[in-house]
Amino acid sequence: MLARVGPLWEEMLRHPFLVETRDGALPDATFARWMRQDYLFVEAAIPFMGTLLAKSPAGHRKPLADAIAAFHSELGLFRERAAAVGVDLDGVWPSFVCHAYVQFLLATGALASYAEGFTVLYAAEKAYHDSWKVVKSGIDPGSPWIGFVENWASDAFAGWVRWLETELDGLGDQAGRAERARMADLFETTVRYEIAFWELAYGRAEGWPGIREVA
């Protein structure tokens, strides 16, 4: 699946949001816009994990439950950083991309098979790990955003992504041809949403179609 989305994956890792965050060249307001939207996304990831947990084999339950706790910790990290730089995370209206990505996540969790839902989880987590490793390679340790780097580019997070990868391979081996094709499509859709999410930090792809201003 990674091979199929190769060019998209490269595009994601080259995104100016990551490069400029790494180089300390990103305007604070741009980072703040991302932070406000990603906070909403992490909030929604928790019920998504709940739908996966409901379908999961017994051996997956502890790792998935631990991940829910990790998402709560991430929300704490967002709140701590937002307070430190004076960004308000409350009452944020989701951008269209954020909203659409969240609905995609929850619809997949509710209606698709466990292996398909697990694919989306892996794609999103792998995307974050690889993306924040790009930021890690050269960011000033004094950057206000170092906490995010330490979260997603950490060894612990790498271990979680490796576990997801191993288990996804196992699920792929057990899937039929049609299901594997759906898993590959879901993987690609998730990567597209991830790129769109970096885009929305710049105020591009942020608005709702036909609506000029985002509240």
């Binding site: 409901a54 379908k55 209606l111 057990q174 039929g176 299901e179």
Partner: protein
Amino acid sequence: MSAFTEELFEAARPIWEAQLEHPFVQGIAAGDLDEEVFRRWVVQDYLYLQEFARVFAWGAAKADRLASMGWYAAALDLTLHTEMELHRAYASRFGISADELEAGEMWPTNRAYTDFLVRTAADGDLAELVAALLPCAWGYAWIGRRLAEEDRPSDRRYADWIETYASAEFQQAAEWLREEMDRLAADTPSDRRQRLLALFLLSSRYEWMFWEMCWRGEAWPV
């Protein structure tokens, strides 16, 4: 290789034969089933159908192709409207009012069976959903057809029961679901087919237990 549903049938055959031989089913065939005992079935099956309809709703939501989505949607509509209306009319022939049907309480076996079905429909994939619901739809069609091979009982109400499940509509619905199961199983690796078989056997056991529940009568122990 034989169709997957043939494997399911062979595995469940002892349970299905036991259903056919169950005194409740044989009582319908002979027409001498105690009316009081049969009334239990009328009420419990009415309650069952409401939950069964939810399984079709999940089927429509999880369908992987338009033809299947349409079929589950039609089955939902038929169950919820046509079949339940027929059930109310049929119940009145046994002196059971619509109010009594609505006020009926699910007995433990029925509750456990329908909770199992709806839970499997919600958590499982489409193949698992079909494997769990098949013993009801196909089982009733199979029993109806087997009973229809013999002379009808003199009690018209029991004869009509047999006619309903032996009818072309019912047989076609069961046949469609069998083909759906075979289609979905064809894309399911063998170790996951074991899961489908387990679900099919469990629902088959619940089908037998449903006759037994009605035959003996049941109540919540506390």
